[in-house]
């Protein structure tokens, strides 16, 4: 059968200041009609450029196809004129993007933006196009489509915006849909809804989908075939089952091992691939992966392997045989932290014996928005509403929930970046929120933090040494040589080269910057660290490096963590106990194993079920959760989850369930715990 789309040896150069940089090199790709092909790879691998090249959208960004061909149903797209290709865009090939907010024009209504594409590619009149647009919105699951037609992108939630984007893409029933990380910016329950929608659409319209993602779980969930890219080249492609069963390329193998699964052994260190993806201007010779590869030989260092076919699949590696027949080479010792795990299990018992390190008591944080002529209408956002929990010494407490649930606000309250509306935070028995003037500094000393954004959380104009040494300077007035000495110690501890002391942050990769942040956090040897989405912005292979580092440090320095995240698999790996938040409320607390084995709250159950499993043999057949989280300005009465809960009754609508003990160390706020 002739494939719908065939990309043959496609090479693309970008021009910057007159210099050509090769961004993708001889990429081969085939998509059959009705097939979902996932393209996976870390940031900088060339996935997005490949997709933009297929649409010829690189024309607008000084990109140029220097070699190869792209054929759609036998028609070469490379030789088309600008006018000819623009007729095909949106009609035969459509595209959806990662950030549905920035991908929609903010100053036109959703309706206008759908009608526009219909008018362009069909003969519909404007009223007919409006009718069609409403049908489309309905099809992609947007409630009250007539109302939404007149709304602007900012008035819709992230999930609704992505649905609207899909409606625009579907408008002319294209043969190929390119989806570039369409769920990365969405919460996991919304992600499940969107993935489900895409599968339905594929079946309904027999559409082909090129799905770009960095998440192997999603690929396993949705793909028929997988293409793996690395540093601008396709290094492997195979049917999804084959790939997950036996990868042919060491990089793919490494990626698969880096994935933290829901049933992985938590006492083991996470698998990591050394180093990080090279920048396109400094590509290594030979195989582009060889500096990070455990199997690399001299041949890999000098000769670049071509993509070769082998039993219906392709890989570009000189050592496929070695990979297939030799036992896996894991360089680092795997065992770590086993001993600490026991502590968690006996936590409840222990709790009775000594004070917890940190105790959060009935914390509330309301934000007010003022409206009206004299700001008379005050509206309250209930960001955090009566949350209590404890964290023991040496413990890691995971806090999970979807965006807007209040978990980050809670973290900010603990760091005293926000003033709590009411409630107490006791650290070693002392209330830090109302500490006397002389003592506020000492609590800041013991509670440190690591933030999400490795680029935003360090001052770009400070030297690395000064960034790491800032707490030493503030709290111990260390300067000059004394500071340098301590900072160098810490840098070695987190795996940074002390020679980096006098360099500026922009010279470092995301993973290294996160090491800088961690070094700053441990410089004062604190007792407690709030890690707010500390690894969420990093690539899979780097993520594991940082998680391992944090666990090593915990053992060495006797740290306790509050680990705030939305990625449940990482939280599961690192946490001893986990709290689940929904709409400002803590709805469930349990030890990690208990929570994953017996989730009691229906929200927790749905959240767990929504995570894509990196195993194509265990695909989901049901949709875990409908609807979206209501606004925290106007929370539902009774149980806040009742609007989305399948088990909700009248009782749930009227009376708010209290967080109560349902088992050893297991609390849940539900009238009908499972």
């Amino acid at each position: 059968m002739k494939p719908l789309l065939e990309v043959k040896e496609l090479s693309v150069d970008f021009y910057k200041h007159g210099n050509a940089i090769n961004v993708i090199d001889k990429v081969n790709l085939r998509i059959n009609s009705g097939e979902i092909v996932c393209m996976i790879g870390e940031s900088g691998s060339g996935k997005t450029i490949t997709s933009l090249s297929i649409m010829r959208l690189i024309d607008f960004n000084s990109g140029k196809i220097t070699h190869g061909d792209i054929e759609l149903s036998g028609v070469s797209l490379v030789t088309l004129t600008k006018q000819e290709i623009s007729v095909l865009r949106g009609k035969k090939i459509a595209m959806i993007f990662q950030e549905p907010m920035s991908a929609l024009d903010p100053v036109f209504t959703i309706g206008d933006q759908i009608v526009e594409v219909l008018i362009r590619h069909t003969n519909l009149t404007k009223p007919a196009a409006r009718e069609q647009a409403i049908t489309l919105l309905q099809r992609v699951g947007i409630p009250e489509p007539e109302v939404r037609m007149k709304q602007y992108p900012y008035e819709l939630s992230g999930g609704m915006r992505q649905r609207a984007m899909i409606a625009i893409a579907l408008a002319c029933e294209p043969e190929l849909l390119i989806a570039d990380e369409p769920t990365t910016a969405l919460d996991v329950t919304i992600q499940a809804q969107i993935l489900n929608l895409l599968k339905e659409i594929r079946d309904e319209f027999n559409m082909s989908i090129l799905f770009i993602t960095h998440d192997l779980g999603i690929a396993a969930e949705i793909a028929d075939r997988i293409v793996v890219m690395y540093a601008g080249k396709v290094i492997e492609q195979a049917a999804v089952h084959e790939l997950f069963e036996q990868p042919f390329h060491p990089y793919t193998s490494g990626l698969l091992q880096s994935v933290v699964t829901m049933d992985s052994d938590r006492t083991e260190k996470l698998f990591t691939i050394n180093g990080s993806i090279p920048s396109l201007s400094e590509l290594p010779t030979g195989c582009r992966f060889h500096p990070r590869c455990a199997y690399a030989t001299d041949r890999c260092r000098s000769e670049e392997p071509e993509l070769v076919s082998q039993s219906g699949r392709e890989a570009a590696c000189w050592n496929i045989e070695k990979l297939l027949h030799e036992p896996q080479q894991q360089v680092e010792p795997k065992r770590i932290i086993a001993a600490d795990r026991a502590i968690a299990a006996s936590f409840e018992h222990e709790q009775k014996q000594r004070l917890p390190l940190l105790e959060v008591r009935a914390i509330k944080k309301y934000f007010s928005i003022e409206q009206g002529l004299f700001k008379q209408n005050k509206k309250l956002i209930h960001a955090v509403d009566d949350v209590s929990f404890q964290i023991g010494k040496g413990e890691t407490f995971g806090l999970v929930g979807e965006s807007g649930c209040g978990k980050s606000t809670l973290g900010r309250v603990l760091l005293q970046l926000e003033q709590a509306t009411s409630g107490q935070v006791l650290f070693e028995g002392k209330d830090v929120l109302r500490a006397p003037a002389g003592e506020w500094k000492s609590s800041r000393r013991d509670i440190q933090f690591v933030f999400q954004d490795p680029y935003g959380s360090i001052n770009p104009r400070w030297k690395v040494g000064d960034i790491i040494g800032e707490p030493l300077w503030v709290h111990e007035s260390l300067k000059g040589q004394a500071k340098r000495q301590k900072v160098v110690e810490v840098m070695e501890l987190v795996g940074l080269n002390p020679a980096a002391y006098d360099r500026l942050p922009h010279e470092f990769s995301g993973g290294q910057r996160q090491r800088i942040s961690i070094a700053r956090a441990i410089a004062l040897k604190p007792k407690f660290i709030v890690a707010d989405e500390a690894v969420s912005a990093l690539d899979v292979s780097v993520q594991s490096q940082i998680v391992n580092l944090m666990q090593e440090l915990q053992g060495q320095l006797d740290l306790s963590y509050l680990f705030i995240a939305h990625g449940l698999n990482i939280v599961r790996h690192i946490s001893d106990r986990i709290g689940v938040m929904y709409l400002g409320k803590l709805v469930e607390i349990a030890t990690t194993d208990e929570l994953f084995a017996h989730p009691a709250h229906h929200y927790t159950k749905a959240l767990l079920a929504a995570i894509p499993l990196p195993d194509p043999t265990r695909r989901k057949t049901f949709l875990p959760l409908q609807g979206e989280m209501p606004s925290p300005a106007n929370p539902p009465t009774g149980c806040r989850f009742h609007t989305r809960c399948t088990a909700a009754t009248d009782l749930c609508k009227k009376i708010e369930p209290a967080l109560q003990r349902i088992g050893p160390g297991h609390l849940a706020a539900c009238h009908y715990p499972a």
């Binding site: 900010r412 005293q416 000393r445 440190q448 959380s457 770009p460 104009r461 800032e470 503030v474």
Partner: protein, 262 residues
């Protein structure tokens, strides 16, 4: 860019060592050579008193440059300070400064500067002061916007969580990250101030010193426009060249300091 730098170097040289560059003395009045068109002897012609226009321009450069740089230093620094305080402190201080700026901005800049210099009595220093006051709001606004943008970045939260005192956050974290746009604005601001000061002289603020500045020369030349075009044209050209050069350097600075280009 190169020519812009050369022009500036030349004008700065004129301002510092006028006597080395100018062929005559600015006070020489040669009644036999009034209103001479440009020639080998008088490169840019002579004015109504028989003074060499080129010499006058060379000597006048000092006043123009001093006014430009002085008012930017005073106005820019004062504005930056207001903006920094308003932006960092927020709340009532911000409201207060912003209203104050609204008030000053609602008065046309030239009228404000004119009123101040008339009230203080004219003189080179007065002009600098008057222009400084008129340009403060612009700097304060830009600085405030910049501070608010930097304040929302996460490393400020980081510093607060560490316990870094407010004063240090303002001086060591926020200020360094606001400097580049201020630097660009102050560079182009020199040009803007020179334009205002020449307009003030033109409006008849009078001769403020023995040696006429470029704006005053230009306004004098206006009366002889139809019979001696050079008197008005060359001072204007000199101002334009200086301001274009300053603006070009400002643009170049903006490009170099833009984080997206590094």
């Amino acid at each position: 860019m190169l020519s812009a730098s050369l022009i500036i170097v030349f004008i700065v040289a004129c301002a510092i060592f006028p006597e080395w560059i100018a062929p005559y003395s600015p006070l020489d009045m040669n009644v036999n050579h009034i209103l001479q068109p440009p020639s080998a002897a008088y490169l840019l012609g002579t004015d109504q008193f028989g003074r060499d226009v080129f010499t006058l321009l060379v000597y006048g450069s000092r006043q123009s440059l001093l006014t430009g740089i002085g008012s930017v230093l005073i106005g820019g620094l004062a504005g930056a300070l207001c903006g920094l305080l308003a932006g960092y402190h927020g709340r009532w201080l911000d409201t207060f400064f912003m209203r104050l700026i609204d008030v000053v901005m609602s008065i046309p800049g030239i009228l404000l500067a004119l009123a101040i210099s008339v009230a203080l009595g004219s003189g080179p220093l007065t002009i600098i002061l008057a222009i400084s006051v008129a340009v403060i709001p612009g700097y304060a606004r830009v600085m405030r916007g910049q501070v608010i943008a930097v304040k929302s970045r996460q490393f400020i939260d980081a510093a607060r969580a560490i316990g870094t005192p407010n004063r240090e956050i303002m001086l060591r974290h926020i200020l360094p990250n606001c400097l580049s746009p201020m630097l660009v604005m102050m560079t182009t601001g020199i040009g803007f101030s020179i334009l205002i000061s020449s307009a003030l002289s033109f409006l008849g603020l009078g001769e403020i010193s023995e040696i006429p500045d470029w704006g005053y020369l230009l306004s004098q030349g206006r009366s002889y426009m139809t019979i001696a075009w050079w008197i008005a044209t060359f001072p204007g050209l000199a101002i334009t060249c200086l301001v274009v050069s300053v603006n070009l350097i400002g643009d170049e600075l903006r490009n170099r300091l833009d984080p997206r280009n590094s």
